[in-house]
């Protein structure tokens, strides 16, 4: 099964029963798979008129009680950033997979890239925090989609799966466990008395219930700055309350959210920080470097956002250098630099997209860093 199909299967396994999407290479296979599977599992698939509408439909569907997902890549993701902001503001649980391709603009539709890392976080205007995960294989496309839904439900936040064309089109064995072995966070709908019903609670925490349309609570939600009732309150003070909550419900729970995969990091001179398909390219360079006697560890970012500030900070000063290969002109390397505080060298191994790295280039960077 390829990564794109695994995304759709992961969504279904997580209880997603609504999918609105728009065709775009290299993510279309996910929509096709969901459309094919929808009738038999009692789900609904709709191909919307564009990506603006796709994510808008998700927001409506989420508040009407469904777990929902869409999938796209760069150009479509750009359109989605509009309502990604609304979803973040209205604390709507939904999952977007971005199967990245080369940009900017129409760029390289059939070729791989990791160029939307910053856009995922900073795409929508205004401050907001989202969660982003980065699978390195079709199996992880499945596993992380389930996890994306779980995080999305718990924190009531859009979760973005930042995969890429290579993983999306790569075929590998995917093990789908029996349903009772998959941990799924169910939709939590408010069911208390009407007078206590609040669509929001601004306490920088997760775990708050949604209010479902049709349950008689007559809720209101808006993209305007609002109070816990959901009504607009357009003051700077209220803006501070809302934005602080949106940011802190993710940032202050970063330790619970972040997942990393480490290999021989303790005692390493060089740590390669990588994610997605690039991690699997880097592994070859790391193996070759170790053969040359270089003490090199690997830190794979499974969770991209929130960024693992703490871990990089801990390692900075202990390691000589961080080597950061990524299929973009240097995006996450800035985060590494920021968290290394100048205590370790940070070396960017960038690539303008369209292909994965030549492992030799990463190996060279490791060698150079070790000098």
């Amino acid at each position: 099964m390829d990564g794109d199909h695994a995304l759709a299967e992961g969504a279904l396994a997580a209880g997603c029963r609504f999918f609105a999407g728009y065709p775009i290479t290299p993510s279309t296979e996910t929509a096709e798979r969901f459309a094919e599977r929808a009738p038999e599992v009692g789900a609904l698939f709709i191909q919307m008129e564009d990506e603006l509408a796709s994510i808008a439909a998700l927001i409506g569907a989420a508040w009407a009680g469904q777990k929902c997902m869409t999938v796209t890549c760069g150009p479509g993701f750009s359109l989605m950033t509009e309502n990604l902001g609304l979803a973040a503001m209205t604390e709507t649980p939904l999952v977007i997979a971005n199967v990245q391709r080369g940009g900017p603009s129409t760029g390289l539709p059939t070729l791989t890239a990791q160029q939307d890392m910053m856009q995922a976080k900073y795409g929508p205007h205004g401050d907001n925090a989202i969660i982003a995960l980065c699978p390195d294989s079709p199996q992880e496309c499945f596993d992380l989609t389930v996890e994306a839904f779980n995080l999305s439900e718990y924190y009531r936040v859009p979760v973005i799966i930042l995969t890429d064309e290579t993983v999306g089109h790569m075929h590998e064995k995917v093990v789908i466990p029996p349903a009772d072995k998959i941990k799924v966070v169910p939709r939590n709908n408010y069911s208390g008395p009407k007078e206590d019903c609040r669509p929001y609670k601004f306490d920088s925490k997760g775990g708050h219930p949604m209010v479902r349309a049709g349950d008689g609570y007559n809720f209101h939600i808006t993209g305007l700055v609002h109070n816990e009732m959901g009504y607009p309150v357009m003051t700077a003070d209220q803006g501070k309350i809302v934005v602080t909550h949106l940011m802190e419900k993710i940032n202050s729970n970063a330790d619970d959210i972040i997942r990393l995969e480490e290999d021989q990091v303790e005692g390493a001179d060089i740590v390669v920080v990588s994610y997605g398909i690039t991690s699997r390219i880097a592994v070859k360079a790391i193996q070759d470097a170790r053969k040359e006697g270089i003490k090199v560890g690997s830190l794979r970012l499974i969770t991209i956002w929130p960024f693992c500030e703490k871990r990089i900070n801990e390692l900075s000063g202990k390691v000589k250098a961080f080597v950061v290969p990524e299929i973009n002109y240097g995006q996450m390397v800035r985060e590494v630099e920021r968290c290394a505080h100048g205590r370790s060298e940070v070396i960017s191994v960038n690539h303008c997209g369209g292909a994965v790295h030549d492992p030799e280039v990463i190996l060279d960077a490791i060698r150079k860093a070790n000098k």
């Binding site: 029963r17 009407a64 929902c68 349950d215």
Partner: protein, 399 residues
């Protein structure tokens, strides 16, 4: 209005003389009379003055981003088909930035009710030109007159596949109520356009008086024509406004089409969100009966002091007359018809000539004459209207 409007959110933001308030009243009335379960009603709005409707109605309500009310409403409806979903927004929102969503929801016959307040202006941002602003009208971004061609919304939605299309003005409160009521009872894509005055911007900029003047204008300029060909519903600057119910037809909705396809594929076991088609149909039938009972109760209550109440089914003209009568009493405005007529004479010839020239280029030979004639008439009316508005001070000073 409590139970329908969020009284704790009053006062609302709308200007005195704005049509949106009376539209919301008509909507509230329609919801009450329709007998539908208010718990199962969701109102979705976009951005702008009309976009604020969602914040004042006491139902589940979603205030979305600019232009995206229809796709959000689509998501709500598809995620829970038991809900009745109403989109209440302005023409800038629905037909400008959200125009693509409008035509596609109509094309799919998505089971939504779209109420479009058409005031020819972007009110909240200060009176810019919109996709429906009549040619030659002044807006803040067309300070020398609008040189674009406007949409005729009934024609647009009809062409896209809408199955219920009506147009009224904000003066026709009872007809608006009745149309919304009808839409609430039916399935499929319903589109109700309500032409409405923006006193603060559109009327002021174009020196058309205030809201009351406009109501009288609506009384004089509307032509009731149920079933009118939607190609004939264009609105020229201060020209005639064709109103009525233009389209009311049956066609499978999007969800019905999905069901039909899937049941063919999966068989009678086919479920959507865990419910088979017969189960959903049984639920819908039971709900329909409850609605009918509630509606009967409301109507019975209404008919008790029946003598003093005006029936909702009163013909448009009478209703309009009544409202207009009040208006006329207040303002005692008379139209400067002679001035108009003379104004029309002068440019008629040249207009005809020009129209024939363009028509010859664009249209096939057979149609040239007819087009030329039509174009000429249009130009005449426009010219007349322009002339009339050129001396608006007369109207103004009368107050």
């Amino acid at each position: 209005m409590s139970g329908v409007l969020r009284m704790d959110r009053m006062p609302h933001i709308w200007c005195p003389g704005c049509g949106i308030g009376s539209e919301v009243n008509a909507f509230a009335e329609a919801v009450k009379r329709s007998g539908i379960d208010p718990k199962k009603l969701v109102v979705v709005s976009g951005i702008g003055c009309t976009g604020r409707v969602a914040g004042y109605v006491d139902f589940d309500s979603i205030h979305t981003t600019h232009g995206r009310a229809i796709p959000v409403a689509t998501g709500v409806k598809l995620a829970n088909p038991e809900l009745t979903v109403v989109v209440f927004s302005g023409e800038g929102d629905l037909t400008g930035i959200g125009g693509n969503h409008l035509i596609h929801a109509a094309r799919r016959n998505m089971d939504l009710i779209v109420i479009c307040n058409n005031n020819f202006t972007y009110g909240m941002t200060g009176g810019q030109v919109t996709p429906t602003t009549p040619n030659s009208a002044i807006a803040s971004t067309t300070p020398y007159g609008n040189y674009e061609y406007p949409f005729s919304l009934p024609f647009l939605v009809d062409a896209a596949g809408g199955t219920y299309i009506a147009r009224w003005t904000s003066m026709h409160a009872r007809n608006v109520t009745q149309s919304i009521e009808e839409a609430l009872q039916r399935k499929g894509f319903s589109f109700i356009e309500i032409v409405s005055p923006c006193t603060t911007l559109y009327l002021r900029r174009n020196r058309l008086g205030d809201g009351v003047d406009m109501l009288q204008d609506y009384q004089e300029k509307t032509i009731l024509k149920h079933g009118a060909d939607t190609r004939e519903t264009a609105i020229d600057f201060q020209g005639k406004i064709v109103i009525g119910k233009f389209v009311d037809k049956q066609k499978p909705t999007y969800l019905e089409a999905v069901d039909k396809c899937c049941v063919k594929l999966v068989g009678d076991d086919y479920q959507l969100y865990g419910k088979t088609i017969p189960e959903r149909e049984a639920e819908a039938k039971a709900e329909k009966e409850r609605i009918a009972a509630r509606r009967a109760a409301v109507l019975a209550e209404e008919n008790k002091p029946a003598v003093t109440k005006v029936s909702a089914k009163i013909p448009v003209k009478t209703a309009a007359k009544k409202v207009a009568a009040k208006v006329v009493k207040k303002t005692a405005v008379k139209e400067a018809t002679p001035a108009k007529k003379t104004a029309a004479k002068v440019p008629a010839k040249t207009a005809k000539k020009a129209a024939t020239a363009t028509a010859k280029k664009a249209a096939p030979k057979m149609a040239v004459k007819a087009v030329a004639k039509k174009a000429a008439t249009k130009t005449v009316v426009k010219a007349a209207a322009k002339k009339a508005t050129a001396k608006p001070s007369v109207k103004k000073t009368r107050k």
